[in-house]
């Protein structure tokens, strides 16, 4: 309990720092730290799958995005820098936010006891899905449509990011060209970490059917390894019009949809799994989805095409 109180105070402190820090870079670093502390909170809330996702995507990848953006936006002159908001506005904002927080806090205390829960139906139907991890069962079986649509969300976000490229750069390569310094520490790190990271990523994905983990967490680690490889200049990001890249991106959702449609024939409904083959089907979906998500996440971090393919 004391530990929880301390952790909560720390989280709130770092979050407050993120808001009030003047320098954007400092705020972003604070945000990354806040994310990692939040992952600890998730562990204390007995949600290890969420802790992994928060650490990997919420703090890690989001932090990389924010760091990259903060340096690029800083290059241009900030026209409103130095203009202090009026004290009256500040006071009004503080008042509003205190009221909102208080209202939510009161509502939290008013939540009913005993809390309604779906844990019992989840446990009862777990055997039919062939899985041991209840969160994976919810993601891939009970509410699989949400997961399918969420993968499409990622794909649309990627298309949206790509659409920001100027017309002449379409079909080009995302991100800057990082030159490899063969003796540098970044290259050494990449050569050492990436194979291990890939194995860790695959393991976390694989073990997600019975233990905390799963496709999103594993995919994030694979994406991070890809980003590390490009950052160190060992490999260059592919151009956005390469056929194999497009096929990699759509492979996951396409297999998901295909097996969903096959569910009409096999088990009488979209995204239904016949009990004997449930685990196998879920696995057949998860492998391409993990690879596709990894590609989507890595490309979302890389950004829109910025270099033309032809020099």
């Amino acid at each position: 309990m004391v530990f929880d109180a301390g952790l909560a105070v720390l989280v709130l402190g770092v979050a407050a720092w993120t808001i009030v820090a003047r320098d954007t870079f400092a705020a972003v670093v604070g945000f990354i730290a806040y994310g990692l502390l939040l992952a600890l909170v998730w562990v204390r809330l007995a949600a290890p799958d969420v802790a992994l996702t928060e650490a990997a995507i919420g703090s890690g990848l989001t932090g990389v995005l924010l760091l990259g953006a903060s340096t690029r936006v800083r290059r241009t002159k900030n026209l409103t820098a130095g203009k202090e908001p009026a004290a009256a506005l500040r006071l009004a904002a503080i008042g509003l936010c205190v009221m909102v927080s208080a209202a939510i806090a009161v509502l939290v205390l008013l939540l009913p006891e005993p809390a309604p829960t779906l844990a019992a139906p989840v446990a009862a139907n777990l055997a039919a899905t062939g899985l041991g991890n209840p969160v994976t069962a919810v993601l891939m079986a009970y509410r699989a449509i949400d997961t399918l649509l969420e993968v499409v969300v990622l794909l649309l976000a990627l298309l949206g990011v790509w659409s920001l490229a100027p017309d002449r750069l379409w079909g080009g390569v995302p991100g800057l060209h990082y030159r490899a310094d063969p003796d540098g520490i970044l290259t050494f790190d990449a050569q050492l970490l990436v194979p291990i990271g890939i194995l860790v990523g695959i393991h976390i994905f694989w073990v997600g059917s019975v233990a905390p983990g799963g496709e999103f967490q594993g995919a994030t680690i694979l994406a991070a390894m890809w980003i590390l490889t490009t950052l160190s200049g060992l490999v260059d990001t592919p151009s956005v019009s390469r056929r194999w890249l497009r096929l990699l991106l759509i492979a996951g959702p396409a297999v998901f949809v295909a097996i969903g449609l096959a569910g009409f024939a096999m088990a009488g409904a979209f995204l239904a799994y016949p009990i004997e083959h449930a685990k196998l089907l879920i696995l057949i979906i998860e492998v391409p989805v993990t690879l596709s998500i990894a590609a989507m996440l890595a490309l979302l971090v890389a950004g829109p095409p910025e270099r033309s393919l032809h020099r």
Binding site: V106, L110, R143, I145, L149, D167, W170, G171, I250, A267
Partner: protein, 503 residues
Amino acid sequence: MPGSATANGFLLVLAVILPFAGVLVSLALGGRNAERVALIVMPAGLAIALAIVVAVWRTGNALQYFVGNWKPPLGVAFRADGLSAVMILTSALLICGIGLFARAQFSTPRGAEARAPLVFWTLLLAVWGALNGVFIGGDLFNLYVALELLTFAAVPLVSLDGRAETLAAALRYLLFALLGSILYLLGAALLYGAYGTLDIVLLSARIHAQPVAWAAISLMTVGLLAKAALYPFHLWLPPAHAGAPAPASALLSGLVVKAPFFLVVRLWFDVMPGMPERATAQILGVLGAAAIIFGSVVALRQARLKLLIAYSTVAQIGYLFLMFPLAVRPEGGYPWSTAAWTGGILQAISHAFAKAAMFMAAGLIAEALGHDRIAGLSGIGRALPITVLAFGLSGLSLMGLPPSGGFVAKAMLLTGAVAEGQWWWALVVLVGGLLAGGYVFLVLARALGDPIEPLRLSAQVSRRRQAVVMAVALCAILLGFAPLRPSDFLQIGRPDTGIVGLR
């Protein structure tokens, strides 16, 4: 227990999955195939929409489907009642029209893949799939994902031409939309914490008047209002809708902005039936009235045609929210049997057709003239008569003059206001109609006037595109033949349906 799946429920799955399958194929094949895929999906999707409407009509019941055969509260349900069915059909028709219109503008050139056509055709299908997802979703979190899909598909359409103004407009749109999503999700968290489910039918059985329920619905409503650009959350809409290419503006103003409104209706009348007080509903009405007055007045002051039309959207969205004070807790009878219920939905549909036709007409005019300044429109009536006529017909619907869907909608709202004894809304509707007449005639007078010097067109506009615009505008007019009484079809699938005539 929300009953069992109905026989034609699989149509609902197809309505959502088919457009997204099109998105996947477009991206994979790339190049010219995006347009081809869209042209194949459009008639197929239209057929599915018609099948859904026919199925709902024939059975007289809502369609229901449990995805994966998992019943709520564990699984996710898709449901299509009369309300969903008309919105699905409207979306399908309008997207087909917009697609045909956009063929000339976003035709794919030979050779290497071009950015704008690929992005446009893919996102057109994505918006369609997301809209269908919103209209049939039976689970509040599934609806959240559908709303996010809609946002991510719509925002890049705003900045498609890459100018700085449209990029800024797209960013502001995205930020408002994200604010809306977060508030919506906060409400959903509270609802799950209190009732243990997010399924709409189950919630309606479990929910009762408690602070947690009130807070959740308020948060979700405010979030959806931000997405629907209801005053005072309208700031993002005019630059975004005016800056997008004409087919995208038609899509955004016609359909995308109606989805959050649809969800507010779902929340108020399906998730917590009978709970909202009249006083709370008056707030929505006041905001709607403010939107009508403000939007129309600012539209009158615009110098550019597309901005005028965008501010007109801000105003016409206000009419939608007049439905709430008039349909909540009516004097005897059910909300869905009031005139205002039919009026509000009819307003959503007829505005969709009318506004889309208007934006497409404005696009043609701008292409022909090379600019869209209202002051420079003189003589365009002679050069593009069909287009200006289509614009005029759409304006009829916006003003609420017969024969048009807008007239029926506003007449129903007026009748509802009088029947409920809330005459002040009748005043707002009438004033709004007058103001709308003002800005429509502003444009028409210029367009039909004689130019000082002979008009030089910078581009030729094909007759086929003008015909498409005309067809869409005629849809808004055809809706004017809807009977002036509460619709039976829109009452299909309502709980405790008692079909009541005009009171």
